[in-house]
């Protein structure tokens, strides 16, 4: 329960901050992907279901805070990130900074790319192909920078609430 509450508060704070911080014009006008960082954190540091719950919450916040975003699109993108990160959880350690940077960058890039494809398919947005690629690449760059920073309050919250998982006791992810 405390884990879920911490996830809810962190996702909410990340969502509000993400919507209020200005976009970075040099990187295609992309927003700092704090919500993706929260998803990556819970996917790498907890079990698959926790990662998916984080994806659901973070995705709902992003969909709610984006007036023209169809409900569920961000949830779908973040779920893909959560499942991908969960698959790699056994072979990487989230304590290594390079791993966090890489997963943050890859997560932001992939979620942005999937979202762009979905929005273009539905004619929800009218950016040209180069601007779209610029935005997704920019999201990747910002994801690599923001994710290690987002890990700090998330890890502090887990420690404070006693939600840190012992790596030796985790079940092997058997979800196909």
């Amino acid at each position: 329960m405390t884990l879920f509450l911490a996830m809810l508060v962190l996702s909410g704070a990340a969502g509000v901050l993400q919507s209020m911080l200005p976009s970075i014009g040099l990187l295609g006008g992309v927003k700092i992907p704090l919500l993706v960082s929260v998803v990556v954190y819970y996917s790498l540091n907890h079990d698959t279901f926790t990662g998916l719950m984080a994806a659901l919450l973070a995705g709902l916040f992003q969909d709610v805070l984006s007036p023209l975003m169809p409900l569920g699109y961000s949830v779908f993108c973040f779920s893909c990130i959560a499942l991908g990160a969960a698959r790699c959880r056994k072979i990487v350690s989230p304590r290594i900074p390079v791993v966090v940077v890489l997963f943050g960058a890859a997560g932001a890039f992939v979620s942005s790319l999937i979202l762009w494809i979905l929005l273009e398919r539905e004619d929800q947005t009218s950016w040209g192909i180069w601007h779209g690629l610029w935005k997704t690449a920019g999201a990747g760059i910002l994801g690599g920078i923001a994710t290690p920073l987002a890990f700090i309050p998330a890890r502090m919250a887990d420690r404070l609430l006693g939600n840190e998982e012992d790596e030796m006791e985790e079940d092997i992810d058997e979800v196909a």
Partner: protein, 276 residues
Amino acid sequence: MVNKRYMLAVFLLILVVLLNLPVPAAWKVKAFGRDNVAPFQNLMSLVIARLWDGCVSIATVGRAMEERNDLRRENAELKVENRNLQVLVLENKRLRDQLAYKSRQKMRLVAAEVVSRGDASGWWQTITINKGISEGVHPGRAVVTTEGVVGKTVAVYQHSADILLITDPSCKIASTVVRSSSFGILRGMGSVPMVQSRVEFLTQPMPCRMDYVPMADKVVPGDEVVTSGLGGVFPEGFPVGHVVDAGVDPSGLFQRVDVVPAAELSDLRYVFVVGE
């Protein structure tokens, strides 16, 4: 393992339901979320605005006195001008009454403060204001400043609303070039990197583009562009911007005209939503 599969199945079910929710239901979910998040956004906006104003005050304390004196002088001059204009207004009304003209109805404007810039996803150019249904804001209404058109309301909640800016490619406005009376459809072109901009970091709006302008019409840089009123959202005559360039579009059938917005979109603090 069975438990994990069960949980995954539940999650997939939730995802499928979310993606296939009917529009009214999805709207209710979004409105519920936004109405609950709005107070935090307002609080954060207030804190950021106070911090920013504090920093600016410290940095410009030397100029504050001089600016105050200039403003006082300007205020006094404007008061005198306003008194003279009131006389003209009364005379105008009297003459209209005598000629039995129908009096023009004034538009109702709802003043609002910008609390955040851009949606959370970054795929649209929007702003969020701190007024909503309770304050008389409705979807599909024009949003303006004293300088010109800013955009239109696309989503309105109980105490907040989202505005799609004219620089967003999804925003289209029926416009007219004043000098040549040329009609066209103005659309946003996004933004480009630039050094100075306070709100969107290192970016400025690209000129908007006006399409379907007839080839026969002469449009030159400097021409003023206003709303034509034909689209149904923007009343006629609101300033949109001025022409910076005019050329032939790739089809060769129409002109394409680049227009710089009149409103200072990179530094929006207060806007007005046009009411009934």
